[in-house]
Symmetry: C2
Subunit: 436 residues, 2 copies
């Protein structure tokens, strides 16, 4: 049997501890599958004294992850520190430069410095594996990087944040407000004390930016993502969506159009009968549309120590099966130096259906004014629902669902309606996404 | 750049032609991804003269696939002939023995001779890749063989036959009979003139047997699968399922119990709110439950020239990225010689919920007799629905949904009810499957 694959792990939080535990518990089976042992030989974390409930056995302790990363005692460096800069970046770069393979779960790091790190990995002939960075235990990176070789992706979209999906699922199931569901998510540990990063879509954007690069062979550009969170989704939206045959999900969507690449994160109406609409709670899902294959959907646990550790172990097993002389596939599907510059399609050129909910004064001519603004912007309507507000006799709710139109047309129409002075509340606009 | 990977393709039907076309159309992108060209250099098919609408360019023609398979001119042999024996088996064996990698889409071959072929591949240090053999374009083999390393699978189940799923979807959507939907599937080319192999579950069983081996590290045993097709599913079943919050799918299910491994293919009630219940038409889906990851679901096109070719190309790309000296992972997840003997759990020990539909004479005491048979077999009921038959005044339909019980108990109870002499039609029993 070949020599053991010696790994060094930096970061011993929930995921790091799960990785150490899984390597211990599943050692025999992994050895059988890989043809050699995967042996944790060194670790690094902030607090050496802390009891993590894991057996660190004979592993060597490093106070400095950068020193661990370039140690001659390891073959693979597993980065579970987190953060887009600092020790995470420094240590991963040091490992790759020293000719060590790297496995990381760090989406922020890849989103910001992924292409730079990929170039270093490819120059040094080592692997940079990151299955755990996007959608936790779902093998979406492996699928896009390996299984879909030769396919041209036309669109990739998904539920990439469990916190948001949990909140939206609860809002629909229980009829509770966004704030109430957020508090419950916090109580259950699904949301942070400061939930901004999740609920405003930043976490989804990080993950989406990585998928976009894999999908379209372009450089990663997380700063260019159109971003809208879920905090202004109300029960009125959820109910109206249900009546119209839709469900609201926070999606990250990347697609190619003639204007470039669209990357957007926003609350989205998907048909209730679609597979992705059935993805509930903290579960994640990714749909990939390609020219040859059609649509593929993967769903599963997007977070959690064991699910994330499972993805890390899968990455390690792939490395364990490789041997010197193995020519690795490029980190982002095509060689880093050949990744195309990212060309952003302006959001206003986005084409699709729209849900528009307006709260208006109940007076003569309001509806005609709304209809005129739509017609003036060449927006044709699929359905119109108008009903009174039981609590406010002088108000009415008007819900419009458009046929395919553009973001620019909808914004102009809604601006016009707002200027007409009939609205008594902020207009709500939610994009509709095709989904099988 | 490394030398081209030279491939020989045997079988130029729909899939074979798609593979040749895709290698031509996607050549530049594949070369970029793999670091070398994937070049079809030789082909074999039954009829040399036939126009397949593809450019066979400079490929060498072989009348005999076995000769092609062992030719020194190729590095990889792609078997798309089909069939569990004959030239498919002979040629794959010849290729592996000659040290050629093999890619095949042949589920029947793997189901019958997979372990034998895996042993030859592993002895010769070559790859045997078969992503296209199960669920077409869905990367379930890659997921189970690579991504889930170290996970212990507890259950794998799926919609593995597009013909059956198309028929069941149409029956529910249109209220048509099984026979009408089958005829439509035949008209559209989704079902064969002799549909037995699909509708009686044999095709699903072949695919399931491969997944079972990957899931549980055991030898393949397709002959030991409990089999029930969809031809006796009626509108009454579909409607009753809908009323109770279920949808009927033909599932292949493999799970581990204390008695051994259960492998079964049968019409199954899944909760309407589950993701798999939303998999419509010819689409396939596979759900994998593991100890570390929880449940993963993959859905996508299970058949068709391009989707299947996409899986073949993915397999070829993996080989193209490898180099001499690469230690391949075992064909069925663990080395062929270490695959455990298959230990069949008897179907009567299956535990689960059951849907039982009885058509009975409308007379005093019938219902009490049914209830007594259930109680005598310790079957507790989750719900009971009884309604008259509008066309037959003297008949009643009784629908029982049980809590978890055993197959043995249900069979005994239903036999008892049959012997009681109140039934005016064959009793219908459909198993219920948990699904997220």
């Amino acid at each position: 049997m070949a020599d053991a694959l010696r790994i060094g792990i930096a970061g011993l939080g929930t995921v790091g501890a799960s990785v150490v535990r899984m390597l211990g518990d599943k050692g025999a089976e992994l050895t059988r599958q890989c043809g050699r042992e995967i042996a944790p030989v060194a670790v690094s974390a902030r607090d050496r004294a802390r009891d993590r409930g894991i057996d660190l056995g004979n592993t060597q302790w490093f106070d400095d992850p950068v020193e661990l990363a370039s140690s001659a005692e390891i073959d693979v460096y597993v980065e579970l520190i987190g953060g887009e800069d600092g020790p995470a970046f420094e240590s991963v770069r040091a490992a790759l430069e020293a000719g060590r393979h790297v496995v990381t779960a760090n989406k922020a790091l890849l989103s910001k410095r992924g292409v730079e790190l990929a170039a270093i990995a490819e120059r040094n002939g080592v692997l940079l594996n990151y299955e755990a960075a996007v959608a936790g235990g779902i093998p979406v990176i492996k699928t896009m990087r390996e299984a879909l070789a030769g396919n041209q992706v036309t669109r990739v979209f998904g539920i990439l944040n469990g916190t948001c999906n949990y909140i939206l699922t609860r809002m629909e199931a229980e009829g509770l407000s966004f704030e109430e569901c957020l508090r419950e998510a916090q109580r259950l540990g699904y949301a942070e004390a400061d939930p901004t990063f999740d609920i405003e879509g930043h976490d989804t954007a990080h993950k989406l930016s990585i998928l976009t690069s894999l999908a379209f062979g372009c450089r990663i550009s997380a700063d260019d993502i159109y971003l809208e969170g879920i905090s202004n989704i109300s029960q009125a939206d959820i109910r109206a969506a249900g009546e119209l045959g839709y469900r609201i999900k926070l999606l990250g969507v990347a697609q190619k159009s003639e204007n470039g690449i669209e990357q957007r994160v926003h609350p989205t109406m998907v048909p209730t009968s679609s597979v992705i609409a059935q993805v509930h709670g903290v579960t994640n899902a990714v749909a990939i549309e390609t020219d040859m294959l059609g649509e593929l959907l993967l769903s599963g646990p997007g977070a959690g120590g064991n699910a994330t550790a499972s993805a890390v172990i899968g990455d390690l097993a792939d490395i364990a099966k490789s041997r010197p002389g193995f020519q690795h596939g490029p980190v982002f599907g095509r060689p880093a130096k050949e990744l195309a510059p990212y060309r952003r399609a302006a959001m206003r050129s986005h084409a699709g259906g729209y849900f528009i909910r307006l709260t208006v004064q109940d007076r003569l001519g309001v509806f005609a004014a709304i209809a005129r603004r739509m017609a003036d912007n060449a927006i044709s309507l699929e359905s119109i629902v108008q009903h009174g507000d039981v609590t406010q006799a002088e108000q009415k709710t008007v819900i419009l669902v458009t046929h395919e139109t553009t973001e620019a047309a909808v914004r102009k129409a809604v601006d016009g309606i707002t200027k007409d002075g009939h609205l008594v509340d902020k207009p709500q606009v939610i994009r509709i996404e095709r989904a099988a």
